[in-house]
Symmetry: C2
């Protein structure tokens, strides 16, 4: 067990924006909440999966909704903790720990706020290894664990406890409640035993986010570019370097959907790339051909500093590197691809792992 302090929160927030693949909510808001929380309650204990007792109750805590709404409608103090309280009440059992349901974006940080407020530890793991837009897109769902009971709260004091029959129904109920709660809300789902979490969660991802954040913080004075260092650390690939020329976003059915277009610079001059997103980046296309697709991670980085840029942060003229990282192997299974592959999001092509796509393009060139 180690403790999360203010520096760790800064680094996790920066690293989580990379793993958020453009979505997951702006970590800045969560960061401010978490910094306030540790100032009030002290550093937060972080448990590794190994340190988790089998028979304890672990309740993941998160925000749900369109990131475009989340940046406007900041969560009220105690609101996410209230969602966890509803789960405890429904189960008649206290949570021994909380954890991120996704490590990307604001949801890497939200559990730190809850942990501080509740005086419980956070587990160094999550159920995506990145961010995904829908509630059933978790390793817990792949492994057949029940989402129920789930809970939601909003800043006005509304609360809901749900007992959906499966993860897909959980998403449908939660999304429609989110809309009624004004487009974003707090959520707890997949309250599981320590044993189940150890079987299914992706380990060490908060530490990974922190390491990425620390790398970006210290990379500026190094010889290698920050983007290159990040690619080396995560085994990733540069797909494109260009300027943002077009960005269209809409808030629809509780999501932020849209696409961004980039005109190439340097060795990518005369070429054009498009990113499609639903909260998170889903596909990178050139002439309609995929360069990389979900479930592999896509990130837009500032070309010079390597700092990640969310879909809300993308602005005309920004010079960016678009990069891709291989996803966790759990997403490359049949059920994984069925749940989060390009076809699920309406794209008419199969998932091919990013390293294969890169190799094929290299062979053609």
């Amino acid at each position: 067990m180690r403790y999360i302090d203010a520096q760790a929160i800064e680094d996790i927030a920066a690293g989580a924006a990379v793993l958020g693949t453009g979505g997951g909510g702006d970590p800045y808001i969560g960061k401010m909440m978490a910094l306030q929380a540790i100032e009030k309650y002290g550093p937060i204990p972080l448990l590794t999966l190994d340190e988790l007792e089998d028979d304890t109750l672990v309740v993941p805590s998160s925000m749900i909704g369109a990131p475009t709404v989340m940046v406007e409608k900041v969560p009220a103090e105690g609101m996410v903790t209230q969602a966890l309280n509803l789960i405890e009440q429904a189960l008649g059992k206290k949570a021994a720990a909380t954890m991120p349901i996704e490590v990307g974006g604001v949801n890497s940080i939200i559990p730190l706020v809850v942990a501080a407020e509740k005086g419980i530890p956070v587990v160094d793991a999550d159920a995506m290894g990145r961010a995904f837009p829908e509630a059933q897109m978790v390793t817990f769902y792949l492994d057949g664990h029940a989402a129920a009971p789930t809970s939601m709260t909003d800043e006005r004091g509304n609360g809901v406890v749900m007992y959906p029959v499966d993860g897909v129904m959980s998403e449908r109920l939660a999304r429609s409640v989110t809309i009624q709660m004004g487009g974003s809300a707090s959520m707890c789902d997949y309250p599981l035993s320590g044993k189940q979490v150890k079987q299914s969660a992706i380990p060490g991802t908060l530490t990974l986010a922190q390491e990425i954040g620390a790398l970006l913080r210290t990379a500026r004075n190094q010889e290698t570019s920050p983007v290159r260092m990040l690619l080396d650390k995560l085994g990733g690939f540069e797909l494109f370097t260009g300027k943002t020329v077009d960005i269209s976003r809409r808030t629809e059915s509780g999501f932020t959907k849209g696409q961004a277009t980039f005109d190439g610079i340097d060795e990518y001059r005369e070429r054009r790339m498009t990113l499609g997103f639903q909260n998170e980046h889903l596909v990178a296309l050139e002439n309609g051909e995929p360069l990389a697709t979900t479930p592999d991670l896509l990130a837009v980085l500032d070309k010079e500093t390597g700092m990640p840029i969310t879909t809300e942060g993308l602005k005309y003229g920004t010079r960016v590197s678009v990069v891709a990282f291989p996803c966790h192997p759990k997403w490359r299974t049949e059920k994984g691809i069925e749940t989060v592959g390009p076809r699920y999001f309406g794209y008419d092509f199969e998932y091919v792992p990013v390293e294969q796509l890169v190799r094929r393009r290299g062979e053609k060139a």
Copy 2:
């Protein structure tokens, strides 16, 4: 206390269709469920408001959704009782009785099913004195009682417990959950103390429905027409007699919305009347002028038998009497009219009590 037997169920169902003002769901489905339930569990005790203890928990039980969906998607056995169980679990207290939230349509009968299955009495009262389409349209809301906790269940086994901050939020959450549950669902809301129910409920409405049903059952051999007998009993007015010439219905946002047009016969020849509805009939218009409007009750009756016809049952060519009855005085207050008056439903005219509208027309003629 008296007991509800099979004959009483038949009569309540028929009378509830009149008080349902064209909506409230088809009582036939509820009737079949209730007849089955008393065959299995025996007659159901019916409590008057006076017989209710102050400190007991009373949990209204109902169906929510579009009547057009309800007739297709029959509730599963035990499904509504399961919604009541969720309330008991949330409050950590057993319900001493259930009651109708509305006396019109299927929701007059649903509490009888729950009462039989749970072995508890039903209260002879409701919170509308008719049917209305939205969950905040109850005397409990007018009197400032909390809707929360509310619960919903569906036939697939999904369940939700909600803690809305007010009655309007309760409706918004419930309606969106209804849509995710397939367009209709079971619901319990406004779990109140016996004392609160005695203060706010409209008394004797199940008995009233039963009396209306008995009247219709025995009216055929009398000299006076069944429609006339009904008008005398409820202090109502005949607005129009005609043939159904047009009916348009759509299922939208969890409601059945539309309008029906009638061409006059007999003394109404050469005239045309239109009924607008959202689950329930809301306004009766002739040349755009209101003949009667919500919150007064509008009913379409078979011209010969006096049997009520729901909006789903309206067919081309049916010869009908359109009648109106004054609503309970609680709906004629400022908050009542604000909550259920014509302007709430988007009509651009003030509420005028039906008896005044009838008198004005009489003076003009």
